[in-house]
């Protein structure tokens, strides 16, 4: 019986240090098929893909159970190299880029075009010279497919995350012998327009007969693009559905195992006339998200939202105030001016930031969950320390308890506070980042894209925690998000940024049409 399947994973199981994280997973893929894999944070999606790609973590922890068949033939995929030989490509959940290389060099990493050199006749392939013109041309072609107009000879270090992600995707597109490409949450750090372009590109790739495995937490993307959908929960396969037979809410239910209600916004609140944060003519030079003069006044205790389309500058505002990108203009915190361009000064003034690019960022991967949660407070605020005469030691018990509380509140899926962060799933690592910022109990908290890469169920928990902090501690929160629904469910006021300036400020209850107008750049004319 000839099998039409390109790839089959049969009865796959995997345990890490005695914990079963995958069990009896079956998955089949035909050429040209787009197959989505959805599931909660920690359900085992990345683990399954790591098995397919022969990653070292899998094999250094005892390998896996089950069989992988490529073109109907059983294969042992024991290294990424082997996977690549089998025509499998993968865009990993965390970045696999070399910062001091150009985009071209990263796209062509270990697949460089070569030309003979005077040594290569004797010493072979490895002493051939790199053929940069061809490499650049190839890189250009791949970037064009994704419709990106960044120069291919730019160094990767310092690029906005979106471009880094697209660079990785371009790398897979450039591969000539691929039959299957795995995308592990490629859209998590992309702006909507970039994500749309990526989905388009994926469709084109699939039409060429390449099969695609696609992981995402944006369920509407799943419905829009995939042919088949596999749902994982707690390492088990719950269902495999055809896309046209299901919808986003059913998927969410399958993933979480219960119904998810929408959050609704509370009443309008009044604030005393204390201004927590004021900006005047704030200009921020953030590539791709330029801010060209923003004036804001945010009251103490307010939950303020910043929304807008991608590339219009909404992300730049928080980055500028936190001193992460060069900026000019005036900023006052509680009435006193703040010097820009220095993250440490901003932190010292009681600001904290959950950055939009959290993927593997700033986490001490080889340290425990609890240490990661408290470390910024420990170092900058002398919290969680105990005095023993002259000695000051970490208050281990206090740290442990605090971590337990955070783990519960944000539903961080781990074996306990002492688990190493590198053993968490990508989404749960992000929750640790959020927990760390919350631990600082700042006067003003900036959060950018707090629910990116976080599953539908946990999304709600994260937002609820933010609302509670705002309510109980009176913390001023400024949340930047590309999801309007999310902003409207929790914020008191929402500023829409367009072309680097504030197009207008709306209440969550204002009609959809108003939002649409402002987002489209139809600014309320001043003085008119």
């Amino acid at each position: 019986m000839g099998e039409p399947y390109l790839l089959q994973m049969k009865n796959i199981g995997k345990s890490y240090y005695g914990t079963q994280v995958l069990q009896d997973i079956n998955l089949s893929l035909k050429p040209g098929e787009i197959h989505a894999i959805v599931g909660e944070n920690g359900a085992g999606k990345s683990t399954l893909m790591n098995i397919l790609f022969g990653m070292e973590v899998i094999h250094s922890t005892g390998g896996y159970e089950g069989e992988i068949h490529v073109n109907g033939k059983k294969e042992e995929i024991d290294s990424p190299q082997k996977a690549m030989e089998m025509g499998i490509g993968m865009v990993h959940q965390e970045f696999m880029l070399l910062p001091n290389f150009t985009i071209t060099e990263n796209i062509k990493l270990n697949r460089e075009n070569l030309k003979p050199s005077f040594l290569s006749r004797v010493f072979g392939e490895k002493t051939k010279r790199l053929d940069f013109p061809t490499m650049n041309a190839d890189a250009r072609k791949a970037l064009n497919k994704l419709d990106i107009d960044i120069e291919e000879y730019v160094m990767v270090a310092g690029l906005p995350v979106g471009y880094m992600q697209l660079t990785e995707i371009a790398r897979e597109i450039d591969k000539t012998n691929v039959k299957v490409i795995v995308f592990d949450e490629p859209t998590a750090v992309l702006a909507e327009s970039e994500a749309e372009r990526l989905l388009e590109a994926m469709k084109i790739i699939a039409e060429e007969g390449i099969a695609i495995l696609f992981i995402t937490h944006r369920l509407d993307e799943v419905i829009a693009i995939s042919d088949n959908i596999t749902v994982l929960r707690d390492g088990k396969l719950v269902a495999t559905k055809k896309a046209e037979e299901t919808d986003a809410s059913q998927l969410a239910e399958l993933m979480v195992g219960r119904k998810i209600e929408k959050m609704v916004h509370g009443e309008e609140r009044d604030f005393k006339n204390e201004i927590a944060l004021k900006t005047q003519n704030l200009v921020v030079h953030m590539p791709g998200e330029k801010v060209k003069g923003v004036d804001l006044e945010i009251k103490k205790g307010e939950f303020f939202g910043i929304g807008g389309l991608a590339g219009q500058g909404k992300v730049g505002v928080a980055n500028g105030i936190m001193g992460l990108y060069p900026g000019t203009g005036q900023v006052w915190i509680n009435g006193k001016p703040l010097g820009l361009n220095s993250p440490s000064k901003s932190m010292a003034r009681g600001l904290a930031y959950v950055s939009e690019d959290r993927r593997g960022v700033g986490l001490l991967l080889d340290s425990s969950v609890e240490l990661n949660i408290v470390i910024t407070s420990l170092q900058n605020q002398d919290k969680f320390l105990k005095n023993y005469g002259l000695l000051r030691l970490m208050d281990n018990k206090g740290i442990h308890q605090h971590a337990l509380k955070m783990i519960k509140e944000l539903d961080i899926r781990c074996t306990g506070p002492t688990q190493l962060v590198k053993r968490l799933s990508g989404g749960n690592q992000q929750k640790v980042c959020i927990a760390r910022a919350l631990t600082m109990q700042p006067d003003i908290l900036f959060v950018s894209e707090p629910t990116r890469g976080i599953d539908v169920g946990a999304k709600r928990l994260v937002l609820e925690t933010l609302v509670r902090l705002n309510d109980e501690l009176g913390m001023t929160i400024i949340m930047t998000s590309s999801e309007l629904g999310e902003l409207r469910s929790v914020c008191d006021r929402i500023a829409i940024v367009s072309e680097g300036a504030i197009a207008g400020i709306l209440r969550p209850g204002d009609p959809d049409a108003d939002y649409g107008l402002l987002m489209g750049g139809k600014r309320k004319r001043r003085g008119a």
Binding site: M55, E56, S79, P80, Q81, M84, H92, E94, F95, M96, L97, L98, P99, N100, F101, E105, L109, N110, E112, L114, S117, L119, E125, K126, T127, K128, R129, L130, V156, A157, G158, L159, V161, M164, H285, M286, G323, L324, Y325, P326, N341, P343, S344, M347, A352, Y353, V354, S355, D357, G360, V361, G362, L364, L365, T376, Q379, C433, R436, A437, M440
Partner: protein, 437 residues
Amino acid sequence: MLTPNSIPEEKVKLSNKQIIIKFLTNNMVTIMFIVLGLAGFFIAGMNPFLFLFDIVARMSRNSFLVLSLIIPVVAGMGLNFSIVLGAMAGQALLIFVTHWGITGLPGILLCIVLVTPLSMFLGYLTGKLFNKAKGQEMIAGLILAFFAQGIYELIFLQLVGGIIPMENRVLIMGQGIGVRTTVDLTDGLKYGLDWPGLSWGMPNLLRPTLPWTIIVGVIVLLVGYLAYILFFKGKRASMPKLISAAAVGGFLVYWSVNQIQTASMINMVRIPLLTWFVILALCLFIVFFSKTKLGQDMRSVGQDRHVAAVSGIQVDRVRVIAIMMSMVMASWGHIIFLQNMGAFSTYGSHEQIGLYSVAALLIGGATVTKATIGQALLGVFLFHTLFIVSPSAGRQLFGDAQVGEYFRVFVAYGVIGATLAMHAWRKLLQRKGELGV
């Protein structure tokens, strides 16, 4: 894995003052040594001729060794203290070839041919060891060097003359077992490579002097450049570059002609052209190599082993090759060094090689993670300037040349210690920066 959070800070526009401060802090070590060298030079009341004489000799014999350190740095393995093993291999070959009585350039070539497989083998083992101690290569290299010293002593003190037969009145100690503590290369391999400037028996007329070498060198460069433009349709350099090159060339020629006319002592500085060509060839090779596939693999592995491995690069293999290349270069470098010295202490002369070469590289501005050819050569120049001036500066200041001697040993260790500490400190800072949520 990439940590983009730490990067944007770099892009914050700096004021001129900040740029200067950044330049000074980043090049602190190098600047300090320029100042020290200049000060020592004047305090010592150094005769410029003697200085030039000395520095030319020292650069020609030390540069190759220091250059051998570059490739492991590129591959992310830090400062390769294990080059001492390569030095031992080179030295061993010098002893044997001296015993066989092959002299001059043929002798040196024989040394090179025979030492290559030996040091490749040593490099292979060392690389394997380093792969077992990733991230700890420097410590592993230092300890390995101590360990190898023991084996080396065992071989040359106990085995040679005994199990390894060698009958040689001059080389072997009285009892017939063990090599004497010093080996003299005079009338043998001494200056074997340093042709024609230092070669014995070469008529004086044919031994190029420094001024003549400069004049011919400038002319060769000029002709080469013109040929490149006219016959190979090469790209023309930019005007400012051309003008400054012309100015420097013009001045050098003017100075040289002047020296020749006044028959100054500078005319006694003889150039070992062949050695310099070998050093130049190594520089060109390193440049070429960095543009090959293997060179690119090393740069990848050097930046991030994990990412390199996931892209299918055989990380361990690449690292072993890097150490093997470094080891071979070090063995050649040590042969070049000793043939110029003309005599060496059998059980000691290789010991300091790792230390001094690493110090020189660091003084040129290299770090544990970045090293270039320019930094290596500048470092050799500055480090040895200090070597030359410190004894007489010590005598002038403290009435004792020995103080200067101590000082330079102190400096060598001090620089290495300080650089390693600074490396650790930078890493810590970087971590802290990343933690700012």
